[in-house]
Amino acid sequence: MEGGIRIFLLRVTLAALGVMSITGCFGGRTVIETAPDEGESVIQPEVSRREAAPVKIDADNFEVGAYFGLLSVEDFETNSTYGARLAYHISEGFFVEGTFGQTDVGETSFEKLSGGAPLLTDDQRTLTYYDLSIGYNLLPGEVFIGRKRAFPSALYVVVGAGNTNFADDDFFTLVLGAGYRMLLTDWLALRVDVRDRLFDSDLLGEDKTTHNFEFNIGLSGFF
């Protein structure tokens, strides 16, 4: 008995499938054709789409700043210096930086002791320098001030090249240095920098490599 019922059910199913396939071929088309005439589709999509295009997140990889400090020019005393710099942070490690600064050099020992005519005019004592450097944030960390405050900071090293201009002359300059950046807020940083500016000079008669150390403190902002 069971076998007979099963065969009967199978036949009914096959017949139903056959009818459905025929209506699918012929009858189905009429349904599709008439659908637009009804004006309203049966299913109302409830998917809400975002109206705005994907928001572009602001990137603040540029750092612009100014500094004030001391620059020792070999044979020409140590004097105050000031300058500006612009950096672009390529990754969390590397950044490139351009610096432009100025100082007024003093008198050489020779000029002071001889009491004679000065070696340079006042105009020639204005020293300007610039350099392009690559820096690497070597030691990222935090500065703790008091029990509740911690500021992100980084110790970095830089190497670069540039030019120093004074005494009516240009000196190709290599720059080696290190610095410390402390983020006071997410966009404002306090910086302390040390640089050695190396250039060959023949101003005092003989050709020699001079080391010119600079120490400065500055503020910079990210944008």
């Binding site: 789409r49 997140i57 942070h89 969390e92 392009l132 935090e142 090249a161 030019n163 997410d186 101003l203």
Partner: protein, 245 residues
């Protein structure tokens, strides 16, 4: 009658900083948790976590780090790697676009600096390039030259063709012209400063170091059209770093 213009300008200036900051970008955490660092770098400690299902407002980006604010009002920095595991409000994965190799090939602007030797003198060059196509670009460069006997500067414009932009180390060829200024050192000789036109040809290569960074080295041969009887010929070798944007 210029006051209205001034006022409009002032309003624009005041409005400028707020432009585009109306609605922060929001993402939903899909992983079990996300780590919040105190600063934009792997060296800054993780001080808090945000859990699956929490919404994050993404405010700014610095290199590979994103400043976020959680629903609980905690602000911290999340790495690009973790942020890319989150979902946008409509359920699609957060798309963080990082410069890829494809972007390098399709780049349109490039800038960099190079250091080298111009016939015995040191030369430091800053340049910017605009690529019209993947192959052809226009470059403007400014160089500072410092030698033992003279110093000076050079401004030049070049057309650069790179036949194989898809290669990892891609060669290029340069053709251009510019102005060369030479100032002999005051301490040595009493010679006149001179400004001459130059023309140059050269070749070099670029290598994509990853992300926005590229290495570039090149050789150029200059002909300087002097006012003397013969033209001057100079060789230049230089190498440096550049990035594209």
């Amino acid at each position: 009658m210029q006051y209205p213009a001034v006022i409009v300008l002032a309003c624009l200036c005041l409005a400028a900083p707020t432009y585009g900051k109306g609605r922060p970008y929001e993402v939903v955490i899909a992983e079990p948790y996300i780590e919040l660092h105190t600063g934009p770098g792997r060296g800054y400690p993780i001080f808090n976590l945000a859990e699956r299902g929490e919404k994050l407002e993404v405010h700014t980006r610095r290199t590979d780090w994103f400043k976020v604010r959680t629903e609980r009002g905690i602000e911290g920095w999340v790495s690009a790697g973790q942020l890319s595991q989150t979902l946008e409000p409509d359920g699609t994965p957060t798309a963080i676009r990082d410069p890829s190799r494809e972007d390098f090939i399709k780049r349109r602007r490039e800038a960099g600096f190079q250091l080298g030797d111009l016939d015995g003198a040191n030369i430091l060059t800053l340049y910017g390039a605009y690529l019209f196509t993947d192959n052809l670009s226009l470059e403007i460069s400014a160089s500072d030259i410092t030698g033992d006997f003279s110093s000076g500067w050079m401004l030049s414009a070049s057309l650069v063709h790179q036949p194989f932009p898809g290669w990892y180390v891609s060669p290029f060829f340069t053709l251009g012209t510019g102005v060369l200024r030479i100032e002999p050192k005051a301490t040595l000789v009493q010679a006149e400063d001179r400004t001459d036109q130059e023309a140059h040809v050269g070749f070099g290569f670029r290598a994509h170091l990853g992300r926005r960074f590229l290495l570039r080295a090149e050789y150029k041969s200059y002909v300087v059209f002097t006012k003397r009887d013969s033209n001057e010929e100079l060789d230049e070798w230089k190498a440096g770093f550049a990035f594209f944007f």
